[in-house]
């Protein structure tokens, strides 16, 4: 403590001020500052801040009352804005009516549906599952919007009361729309604060998140509370989306990205403090407006002013106090025995994969008379692309799968890897530099994780997202990083062991081999002391710490390992397309999709990597179908699968958090001759499934529903489910 201020706050504040001053001095535009221009800039900043505050309020309300941080908040806004456009502009409804239908009816209904179908079941889920599912909802909502309202028609959402009506401010005009936005945002924040702090339902809402059972005993109704929160949060997202659309244009990606700024604002209030979140939003708004007005970053940093939110998030993360290690939150029961892949099983699996890949790409396999033939260059191209993405996906296995930490920036690390490789081996294509890429990406991963690793897992997720955004706004567009030298190949063909991998089939096999090496390394890593330690901190950080494991440092190491793998994968990704533009194409949404797909596949098992290899195979298959003609239906099906697949698969995690590969493995492993343990487990489970006979329970007849209720009361089982007819009867 220095003068009553925590040291971390002081450090972050002084770092922030220093950075602001340096940036301001270096890039001062030299425009005269008059009170008028200053005032106008300030009012624009406050207006922007108000819009973000609306999103942030929704986030904070849902988070404080349900414990789920809603990554889909922005996408709800997108959906609402498009729906509003449809009703108001396309069908000519009055704006007030359209607004009422969307914000007053549709949004709360959406919130309640999401809560009842999905969110309620996430209460006890791990952070990984919670975040994956909300991200999946985000991706799904955006896909639906893209499918219903195709991107080729230009659309505009008009200002309420037009842009030209408003209060005269001298040099410019304050349109009613903006004034209303400002007032509404403040009103919402104030009323939410009042609701949460001063009303009975608000107290119940906050109590439920701390201890659901205890709150229920005191008369709160957890399900009503969570539905209310989701309805409210969804309404705020919808209103924000509709009101911001006239300013930003009706583009799903742009509108969705607004939410990242709201994340930074929410983080400014430590995710739970509403007034601080609103102040954070205003701060970002003011900084954004004033940097735009007074500073010029030059063409090399032309997007730099957009990275204020990620930067603010960084300073917030530095300033926040170390999180306490939580105890007593662990659910003890696991249904199934965990089994590690044996080293020789890993070797066997990898060998099978390499052979299969060679067979497919070389056309050695015959499918019942239908010979797919060798893949052509187009199939190989898409297979190569997908293979590179699968490599990037593998980098998430130790991080998300074992240590339970989130990383939304695998593509940013991959892009950094590509950048390093371009600088080291851009002329020669010497493949041995790839090892150096791995070494140089590790410290970057550690650096990104370092400030947030001492906080709760959610901050690491936000931090990686902010990092991804900052990289794509500041780092990748810089001409020194990725020079734009006309067209043509800038990434050389990789040269390894005296072979230049310049033909697509050879490169495909090289990547498959690297993939197999990654998988095998992971199999060994999981059996090592490091793998054990990472899984231990996933299960209980508090317990790991009391055994002497430095939890923060351990997390940082996992990030370093993951970043290193992603960097190496990035080299292959960039080499596939051969063009530096591909690195800038590393956007957040593709990153989300990779993370989702890996999570849905079953990210905790190294062999899940083999699942990912099916993507290139499917892709090649789809292209072949297209060539064959008359299979539009199948092509459409594949199309739908690629658009909605990852999202839908992840929703499956609500019921099966371990992912698809886990279930597939359970079906598959009893076939393997050496897995008598798997066969025994299945047999034991089947034996357990049989319901006991009435006689075995020492009863003469089944319980009547009244008796069941009486017993529940007696045992204090506070379930308000009405027992079904014949409850407790034997089915046999």
């Amino acid at each position: 403590m220095i003068f009553g201020v925590r040291r971390s706050v002081a450090v972050a504040a002084s770092l922030g001020t220093l950075a602001a001053v340096i940036i301001a001095v270096l890039s001062w535009k030299g425009a005269p500052v008059t009170s008028e221009t200053f005032l106008v800039t300030t009012y624009i900043g406050l207006f922007l801040g108000a819009l973000w505050a609306m999103y942030a309020t929704g986030l904070v309300v849902v988070y404080t009352t349900t414990g789920v941080f809603n990554f889909a908040q922005g996408a709800i806004g997108v959906f609402a804005a498009f729906l509003y456009w449809e009703l108001h502009v396309n069908r000519g409804w009055h704006s007030i009516l359209a607004l009422f239908v969307v914000v007053g009816l549709f949004a709360p209904a959406l919130g309640v549906v999401l809560d009842v179908l999905i969110m309620r079941r996430l209460r006890t889920a791990s952070l990984v599952v919670q975040l994956m599912v909300t991200v999946a909802i985000m991706v799904l909502l955006l896909s639906v919007v893209g499918d219903i309202w195709e991107a080729d028609t230009p659309r505009r959402v008009p200002y309420l009361f037009g842009i030209n009506n408003g209060i005269d401010l001298g040099p410019s005009q304050l349109p009613w729309h903006r004034l209303i936005v400002f007032l509404v945002a403040i009103a919402i924040a104030v009323s939410m604060r009042f609701l949460l702090r001063r009303t009975r339902i608000g107290t119940a809402m906050r109590a439920v998140v701390d201890n659901r059972e205890l709150a229920a005993l005191n008369g709160a109704r957890p399900n009503v509370v969570s539905s209310t929160s989701w309805a409210l949060g969804s309404m705020m997202g919808a209103l924000g989306g509709i009101l911001i659309a006239p300013e930003l244009g009706l583009d799903p990606a742009t509108l969705n990205n607004v939410v990242i700024i709201a994340f930074a604002a929410a983080a400014f209030g430590a995710l739970k403090n509403l007034p601080m979140a609103v102040i954070g939003a205003m701060l970002i708004g003011l900084l954004r407006a004033h940097t735009g007005a007074w500073l010029d970053f030059g063409p090399d940093f032309r997007f730099a002013h957009l990275s204020i939110a990620p930067l603010l998030l960084l300073f917030v993360v530095i300033a926040l106090p170390q999180a306490r290690l939580e105890v007593g939150r662990l659910a003890h029961h696991l249904r199934r025995h965990e089994r590690y892949t044996k080293w020789w099983e890993g070797l066997l699996g990898c060998g099978v994969v390499i052979l299969l890949a060679a067979a497919f790409s070389g056309g050695w396999l015959d499918f019942g008379g239908w010979d797919p033939g060798a893949w052509g260059s187009r199939e190989l191209n898409s297979a190569n692309e997908a293979m590179a993405l699968a490599l990037i996906g593998l980098s998430l296995v130790p991080l998300i799968g074992w240590a339970g930490q989130i990383n939304f920036a695998p593509l940013a690390f991959a892009g950094f890897g590509a950048f390093v490789y371009l600088k080291l081996a851009g002329d020669t294509g010497n493949g041995y530099w790839i090892l150096m890429v791995g070494l140089l990406c590790a410290p970057l991963g550690a650096l990104v994780a370092l400030p947030a690793a001492r906080l709760r897992g959610l901050y690491l997720a936000l931090m990686t997202m902010a990092f991804a955004q900052a990289m794509s706004l500041i780092f990748f567009p810089h001409p020194w990083v990725m020079p734009i030298i006309g067209t043509g190949r800038q990434f050389p063909h990789i040269d390894l062991f005296g072979i230049t991998f310049d033909d697509r089939r050879g490169f495909f096999m090289l990547m498959v081999s690297v993939f197999a090496i990654f998988v095998y390394a992971l199999v060994l890593l999981r059996r090592s002391r490091y793998g054990r330690r990472w899984m231990a901190i996933n299960d209980s950080q508090a317990a790991a710490a009391t055994l002497g494991v430095p939890v923060v440092w351990t997390k940082v190491v996992v990030y370093a390992v993951s970043a290193s793998m992603a960097g190496i994968a990035g080299v292959f990704w960039a080499t596939v397309s051969g063009n530096v533009d591909s690195v800038q194409g590393f956007d957040l949404l593709i990153g989300f999709n990779i993370v989702l797909l890996v999570a849905a596949a079953g990210v905790s098992i190294p062999m899940a990597g083999i699942f990912l290899i099916f993507i290139p195979l499917f892709k090649g298959f789809g292209l072949r179908l297209e060539d064959a003609g008359n299979v539009d239906f199948l092509v459409t099906l594949l199309d739908i699968m690629t658009t909605y697949g990852p999202g839908m698969l992840v929703l499956g995690m609500v019921f099966n958090p371990r992912g698809a590969i886990f279930e597939m493995g359970r079906g598959f492993s009893p076939i393997l001759p050496w897995r008598s343990d798997a066969r025994a487990e299945i047999a034991a489970e089947n034996a357990q499934k049989r319901e006991p006979e009435i006689g075995e329970l020492g009863l003469e007849r089944p319980f009547t529903p009244e008796e069941v209720i009486a017993i529940d009361r007696r045992l204090e089982i506070l379930d308000d489910v009405v027992p079904k007819e014949g409850y407790g009867t034997s089915r046999s």
Binding site: V327, G328, H332, L334, R336, T546, L547, V549
Partner: protein
């Protein structure tokens, strides 16, 4: 001098005072008891001593050093180990691997001349879990998972061992086996081990503890030998009306 001392520890959560100037000291070579009604602050005291909670005020001293500001991992390396009232075992790891994580972390400092797996097997043997070494802990019964935590704590080769209700989930035979193991551990002078035991099973506490601290509403209301504590009027008053205690106590009085 006591090996571990908590001095005048105050722990406040908002308006609730969980610990109110609580002082506890424990010596090597004996088991010290910490008893009190539910919500008295026993687990909170454990969390303060192990560093999971920073106290509002007060100090924690280990072997003469002030460790109030040390991290959890640092305290563990110095020799403080614990188990948890609500299970914190590594559910997805096998019992053997649970213990291995602890041995590996403390190998260089404390088990230099022995193989990791030997130590891990020995610790599992001590708590009687050799047979389930390869079973995933999440699938074990609660009592066994508790013993895994104990084996894990022993694998840190602690000088101070804090046990939070080790007997819950165990039957009488298992409980008395654990009691005997604790007595053997502290009796072995090479270990220089001090044990602090939170327990609701009064016959267990009275059987193994040399001294007992009684905590009530965050305050230490009595310290003494089991016989002194049982005779203490403040203790009896604190427990009056507590069915749980009366039931547990009945066995001891008779």
């Amino acid at each position: 001098m006591a090996l571990l001392e908590a001095e005048q520890v105050v722990m406040r959560f908002g308006g609730v005072v969980a610990l109110d100037n609580a002082s506890v000291d424990i010596d090597p070579g004996e088991v010290t008891g910490l008893i009190g009604p539910n919500g008295a602050g026993k687990t909170t005291l454990f969390n303060v001593v192990t560093g999971l909670l920073p106290p509002t005020s007060g100090r924690v001293k280990f072997d003469g050093h002030d460790i109030t500001r040390s991290t959890v991992a640092k305290r563990s390396q110095m020799g403080i180990a614990r188990t948890f009232q609500k299970l914190e075992a590594f559910n997805t790891l096998s019992a053997f691997d649970n213990v291995r994580v602890a041995v590996e972390k403390n190998h260089r400092a404390k088990w230099k001349h022995r193989r990791v797996s030997d130590v891990a097997h020995e610790m599992l043997g001590k708590v009687g879990l050799d047979e389930v070494a390869d079973v995933t802990v999440g699938t074990l019964p609660t009592g066994s998972a508790r013993l895994v935590e104990l084996a894990r704590a022993l694998a840190c080769r602690p000088r101070v061992l804090l046990l939070d209700e080790p007997s819950s989930g165990l039957n009488e035979d298992e409980t008395s086996a654990i009691g005997q193991m604790l007595l053997d551990l502290v009796a072995d002078e090479d270990n220089e081990l001090a044990v602090l035991l939170v327990e609701h099973d009064m016959s267990f506490v009275m059987g193994v503890c040399a001294r007992i601290h009684v905590l009530d509403f965050g305050k230490i209301i009595a310290v003494g030998t089991p016989i002194e504590v049982q005779a203490d009027t403040a203790v009896r008053a604190a427990y009056l009306g507590s069915d749980e205690f009366r039931a547990a106590y009945a066995g001891v009085d008779e």
